[in-house]
Amino acid sequence: MNSIEQMISNFEEQSKYPAKAVAKVMKETGKKAVGCFPYYTPEEIVYAAGMLPIGLWGGQTEIKSADKYLQSFCCSIMRANVEMGMKGTYDLLSAVIIPTYCDTLKCICENWKTAVPNIYLIPMVYPQNIRIEAGVTYMMAEFKRVQAELEKVSGRAITEKDLLDSIEVYETYRKTMQEFVSIVNQYPNTLNARTRHFIIKAAYFSDKKSYTAKVAELIAELKKLPAEKFDGLKVVITGILAEPAALLDSFVENNIAFAADDLAQESRQFRTCIGSGKTAVEKLARRMSDQSCSLLYDDKKTRGQLLIDLVKENNADGVVVSMMKFCDPEEFDYPIFKKELEAAKIPMLYLEIEQQMDAAEQIRTRIQSFAEMMDKH
């Protein structure tokens, strides 16, 4: 195994076994860990408090206990999160932050108190109108409240300098990740759909500073190599996330690379840089205000154009919609951007996914059919 393969394999290991990875990094750093529910919890404040923000994005678990709180028509990530909370998988966390973007998340905030009483809950409410000044002011107040809660958990005050230092760590992380996703196009065989995902996902189970350094090292090693030849299809993938691994393997088998993504679990986390502002909290609020995602109110409906631009910039052949089953915000966006992509004559593959799909046969047929269809064009 050469050094690039070894680095990728380490990232994959971290992503596949988060509990083990988190326990290890907690031991190495001596830090407490705080669970951050999707989608945009202010990780910077957790980090500034000297704790590790850990992304809680569901996982491969059998849903048994969570049925007590969440019906089968709730999103599979949230069902898995509640299940793992109840099962004790998250017991190493000192607290969880749960934002209330969608109806399911709002319910989980209440459920958590009785379902997982041993893990301290910090609820968070983002404003509906994130773009207007009143929204920014509200967000700043909410961030300060969360900051005070986190101070209680960590047992220490968070200074302005702590916050600014943390923002710097995160800004370096975001810029590094932006560079990482942009070089995928040059190395689509090494950074295939599967490896690309695992590398990005490992960030949720690491100390951001050391993770960023490792990704920067990987980028530097890759850049020493000539660009790879690739005769497959290049697509832009959009949605909440693209999992499980069997789904990604189907793309690899059919020689389809992700030229760019618009996934909440991936690029939507790091594509927006820090905002301007007099204080650290204002900078954080203004960044959220610039953010675009199906879960954030967007009166301009910019997603279609964003996807069209990503296709053009990356010379992609089409768009893959990874639709999280029962995700209302994503489903509301779909008819709007579908029309725009069709008008732009961009081929599209629609896949409805659940995170714990045991039988991926149908998905496999759809992906292969898409590849065959594009091959003839």
Partner: protein
């Protein structure tokens, strides 16, 4: 000689073509993936063609069982194969509706007969052959008899549940309150048709519309579907073997390459 094998969830189909794409043998066996069905279908098709396995120069497998079947030269999806088969038999077809044992596909073809777009049902039996099998069982008839029952109907009993399991209890309660079997059969066909029409409207329906798959043999479904989409639907000859035919056509093409 070229062989196309279509291994579905409930049946296996085989087609043998000669160099000039003439149909030499075909077979449909009512057991699908994971059974001896595929081998039987191939044997029967070969014996009808008067050939032995050695005569096959290239073979392609398609259908739900295509990944696990190791004896073919290549595997291609049923979407591509149905499109290929239909374009060969009905060059003017622009929309293909294939209803099989456990899935439904609507495929739109471009003017050259190539796949332009497609849509498949979710992992759910609603709108598939499986739904009709369940209905036939409750109505105590063979699945082949559903269409003739429908032909005798005087009105449609609306089946409002999309879910096959719920629809089953709904139909049982309809029958126990005196609904006629014939009218229930018509209701079952319309339930399938509504579900499939919804799927078809997602990608847009362009004439001519052609139906393939085992369910196309049921005239009740074809007529209900035609009403639901508001367009005439033609059914190709031997609708069950279209996927296998497409596979055999691909085999011939790929061998020549």
């Amino acid at each position: 000689m070229f062989l196309g094998i279509d291994i579905g969830s409930s049946s296996s189909k085989a087609v043998i073509l000669d160099e000039n794409l003439n149909l030499l043998g075909k077979a449909v066996i009512n057991t699908g993936t994971g059974t001896l069905g595929p081998e039987k279908a191939i044997e029967i098709a070969l014996s009808k063609a008067g050939l032995s396995r050695e005569a096959i120069k290239y073979s392609i497998v398609t259908g739900y069982g295509r990944i696990t079947y190791a004896k073919a030269d290549k595997q291609i999806t049923e979407i591509s194969c149905h499109a290929k088969g239909v374009a060969f038999m009905e060059p003017n077809a622009r929309t293909v509706i294939d209803i099989g044992g456990q899935d439904v596909k609507v495929i739109r073809l471009d003017d050259g007969g190539r796949v332009e777009n497609f849509v498949m049902n979710d992992k759910c039996a609603a709108g598939t052959g499986r739904f009709l099998e369940v209905m036939a069982r409750i109505l105590d008839c063979d699945i082949e008899m559903l269409a003739s029952l429908d032909a005798e109907s005087t009105k449609e009993i609306i089946i409002s549940n999309t879910c096959t399991v719920f629809a089953e209890s709904e139909v049982i309660s309809q029958l126990s309150s005196g609904a006629k079997r014939e009218n229930v059969a018509k209701g079952a066909h319309h339930a399938v048709a509504k579900r499939v029409a919804g799927l078809a409207h997602r990608i847009g329906i362009r004439p001519e519309v052609v139906m393939t798959g085992g369910v196309a043999l049921n005239k009740g479904v074809v007529s209900a579907l035609s009403q639901e989409i508001g367009q005439p639907i033609s059914v190709v000859k031997n609708p069950q073997i279209v996927g296998a035919l497409g596979a055999a056509l691909f085999a011939a093409e790929m061998f020549k390459k």
